[in-house]
Structures are given as C-alpha cells and as structure tokens.
Symmetry: C2
Subunit: 295 residues, 2 copies
C-alpha cells in the first residue's frame, strides 16, 4: 500500500510533512509517495539524515495556499501537489491521499479527478471527535451549507461504512444531530431525515443533541454542513475560552504557578492520550489551546 502525501500542505510544510513521513515508515511501516517540488523534498530528506533515493518523490511544481479559492485554484494550478497527488490515486498508483493543506481544494480536486461514487449526490467533510477511544465521526462539517434530506441519508451511509472499515467499529451506531432526543423534535429537515434514516440500511439509533458530539452516544453523527461546521468551530472556541480562563487563574499567584509547573506534564499526557487514534480539527484546537497555554 502506497499513500500519496501532500508535501506542501499545512503549516511548516514541507519540513514537518517530510518528518512525519519518515516517522510513519519507521514506526508503522507506512510507505508514502512525497508529492511536491522534488528539489525541496530532497533537501528536506537529506536534512533529516535520509537518502533521497530511498524515497518515492513525485514532482509537482506548485502548491495551493490555504487562502486560495479552492475550485479556482484546482482548475488553474494543474501542476499543484494536490492535483498531482490526486492523479496518483486515480491511476491506482496510490491507495489514498493525505493532505494537511487547503481542505476545500482537496475536495474540489477529488470531485474533478475522482468523481463521485454512483448514487452519492454530494461529498461530505468528516471530522473525528476524540471522546471515545476510536473517535466519533461527525459529517458533514462544511461541504454543504444547504442540503436535501437525501444527501443526509447518503452521509449516514458513507459515514457508517467509513466507521466500520476505517475506524474498525462493528455495526456502528448512526445518530442524527438534532435539538431534542424525541422522534418528533427539530426542524422540518431533521424530522424528514429522521424518518428516512430508519430504513436506510444503517444502525440508526435516533437523535442526539449538540453535547453528544463529546459523549459516548453514537459512533457516527450526521448533520448538514452548516450546523456541523458551527459545531466544530464552537468546540474550538470553547476550548480556547476555558484554557484562557484557567490560565488566568492558575498563574494568578506564585503557589498556583508552582502547582501549574507540576501539572504541565499531566496536561501533556492528556493530549498524548487524546491524540492516540484520533486526529481532527476539534482535537487540534484542544491541543493547540493546551499547548499554547501550558507549554
């Protein structure tokens, strides 16, 4: 199995991406094809003590920035690392593509290059909330601001398969994000989707509420891209707020500061455990807030 890796995506690329590829090979035996400007990647590999000839490097002349308009950038920058990597997947050279870069551009490139699964009307963005050990898949978190009920049924079906095959959860519990737990609660859209999910071929366990994104009630939580995006960003904002307030209190007196030094290690342990097996925007935010406030 070969993973196409966007060497140009994310903060501190390509340095951190190359470092990650080296770690993945050493610790997990995962082989990556590094996609990006070849000379840059070779230099990074050498800087990390690797022999470039031992690696699969796929040259891509340009990169799409985080602030570029996704669809437009994908159309005009044909030689970008995202487009080139996606081609590797299309041609069967790579089994999957991983990028820490412009999410919208990855989605646009996937749509244009790979197309959609037959019967699936719209793609969805998923994120993994780190509450349970294996994580909770939440989708859609932003690809579709407006949805039809049929899209959400398809999100449920895709999510269920992903949870089973990728996250290793048998017969995953699929729930609908709603504003009450009773069957008859919620918006017209939510009520319509609720009825459809009962015979959608998934293990539908009913409605969950916003707080259940961080509780063990479901393995897959289905929502529209507007609500899902707000949910993810509220999570990030709440984490920032709590750690800001805690930090103000914890550093307000000398003996609190001393105790905080003792705690810094414990807080880092929280992060390491939370990080094991789950990677998501939510987690990144919680980790970011902790790291910034205690590291």
């Amino acid at each position: 199995v070969l993973i196409a890796l966007d060497a140009m995506g994310g903060d501190h690329a390509p340095s951190e991406i190359v470092a990650g590829a080296i770690l993945a090979r050493k610790e997990r035996g995962v082989e990556s094809a590094l996609v990006g400007p070849a000379s840059l990647i070779e230099k990074e590999l050498a800087r990390h003590g690797e022999t470039p000839a031992d690696w699969q490097i796929i040259h891509a002349a340009s990169a799409i920035g985080m602030d570029e308009h996704p669809a437009q950038a994908v159309r005009t920058k044909r030689d970008s690392s995202i487009n080139v990597a996606m081609e590797l997947v299309k041609r069967g050279v790579a089994s999957a593509f991983v990028s820490a870069g412009n999410t919208g551009a990855v989605m646009a490139s996937a749509l244009m290059t790979l197309g959609r699964i037959p019967g699936i009307e719209r793609p969805a963005l998923g994120t993994i909330a780190p509450y349970t050990e294996r994580g909770i898949l939440v989708l859609d978190v932003g690809a579709n601001a407006d949805v039809k009920p049929s899209y959400m049924v398809q999100f449920a079906q895709m999510g269920s398969i992903y949870a089973e095959r990728v996250m290793g959860i048998r017969n995953p519990r699929v729930a609908l994000l709603n504003i009450g737990s009773e069957d008859t609660k919620g918006s017209e859209l939510a009520q319509d989707v609720f009825k459809r999910l009962s015979h959608a071929g998934v293990n539908f366990v009913g409605n969950v509420e916003g707080g259940d994104v961080h509780r063990d009630r479901a393995d897959v939580i289905v929502t529209d891209g507007f609500t899902g995006n707000v949910a993810v960003k509220v999570t990030e904002g709440t984490a920032d707020f709590i750690f800001r307030e805690l930090r103000k209190s914890l550093t307000s007196k000398l003996h609190y500061k001393l105790a905080a030094l003792v705690h810094a290690r414990a807080i880092k342990n929280t992060l390491l455990r939370a990080n094991d097996g789950a990677q998501s925007g939510m987690l990144d935010s919680i980790r970011g807030a902790l790291g910034r406030k205690t590291g």
Copy 2:
C-alpha cells in the same frame, strides 16, 4: 421595581430560590414577589430566619415540572407559579419575571399572557456567553427550529435593544452566525439574512463563525433556533469533555493530586469571575463541569 420570582422553578426549589431572593434583597436591594404555594414559601423563609410578613408572597397552588410539555402544561395548569407570576407582569404589579424552571413553559405562558411586541413575528430564546466582561448575547438558541429571514432580522433588533438597555452596551455590535467570514458565505438563508441586516437599523458588523461565540468579535450573535441550540449544547459537551480529560490526568499520580488541591481554589476563582454579570446555560455547564471535577 418589583420582580416576580418563580419560587417553584429549578433544582432545589423552593429552598434555593428563597435563599436567592433573600440574598438579592440584602446585597442589591432587589425586591422579589415570591410566587408559589404560600405555606411552603413561608416555611422556607422562616427556615432562613426571615419573617414571612416582611415578604410579598403570591400564592400559586401548582407548579410545572421540567419534563412537562410546555404549551399543554401552561394551558391546563392555570394556577401554576409560572402562569400566576406572568399575570403579575401583565397587570403591571411586577416589572419582570424570573424563573429557573421549564423554559418552554415560561415562553408559552409569556406568549399566551403577554402576547408579542407589534411587528415581531416570533419570540426568541437568548443566552449569554461569558467570554467578554458584559457577556455576548446569542439568540435564538432554541425557540424556532425553522425560521424565515424576517424572524432573524427581528431577533437582531430585539437583541440589539436588549444588549443596550439590559446589558449596558452602547451601540452593540450585531453579527450573524455563519460558516465563513466573507459576505457571500453560508446557506441561502444566511446569505439572505446578511443582506437584510445591513439596513435593519442595527450596528451590523458582518458574519462571525462558531468559535466567535467565545471570542470578543460581537456583542449580539444572531442565529436560527436550530443552529443556536446546537451551539449551546456543543459548548456544554466540550466543557464536560475537557474537564473529564484534565481530571483523569491531574489525578493520575500523587504529586499531581497534591498540585490539584492547590489549584482547586484558583479554578473556583475562575468561576466566580466568569459568573459575575453573566448567567447562562453555557456558563452553568462550564461551572458545573468545574465544580463536579474539582469541588
């Protein structure tokens, strides 16, 4: 000014409510009319060392429970504390009504007894997020699962007046909760509301994202009741999750436990400061999580 107080609303009512009324009189000179079963209230006042004759007690024979269907309970229990208190406001005896009880029933009773302000199509539920010193008003957080653009414009107008008159914020910044900061982002509904808010007679500062509920970007954040409800409950769930994880780490070794004892006081200070001037479901949850995990 007399405040009608639902003596039967909330956890540990009437005991905690009566205790609160006594505190409000002592510390802030606020006069409350205690509404509920007279004999019960008199007993509680005596238990707190008060002379019942010094207090305005308005007898209401029954109470609406937290799990009762709001509209139905309001219609059938005419002698409930919520209905009786609302009548005091209607007749001008009380200037306002405060209840920690069944939110839906308070809203239903207000609609039936007081009616709506001319030109306002739907009521909204507001909550105050505790990020800034004076708080950020978020509305609607659950009264309207489905909205029309005109409702949201009215929420903005009501919210702006509330922020100015009640929260004491001059020329409050009103923002629309959306999934991107640019003008053209979001659902069709959000884009429509964005255009209308530019000439709605409020200080409209544009879109904010979910994380901005906990940042200093706006004083009033307008959203539909579905998204707003999810936002509030995600906040609660995130706070629970973070404190659960922190607690696991902080109590994992003896010297962490000792440091946590030192911190308990600092964490309580966080709560007291956060609580000053802002009361909301979000805050309650953060406080609840902290209290449970450290107190």
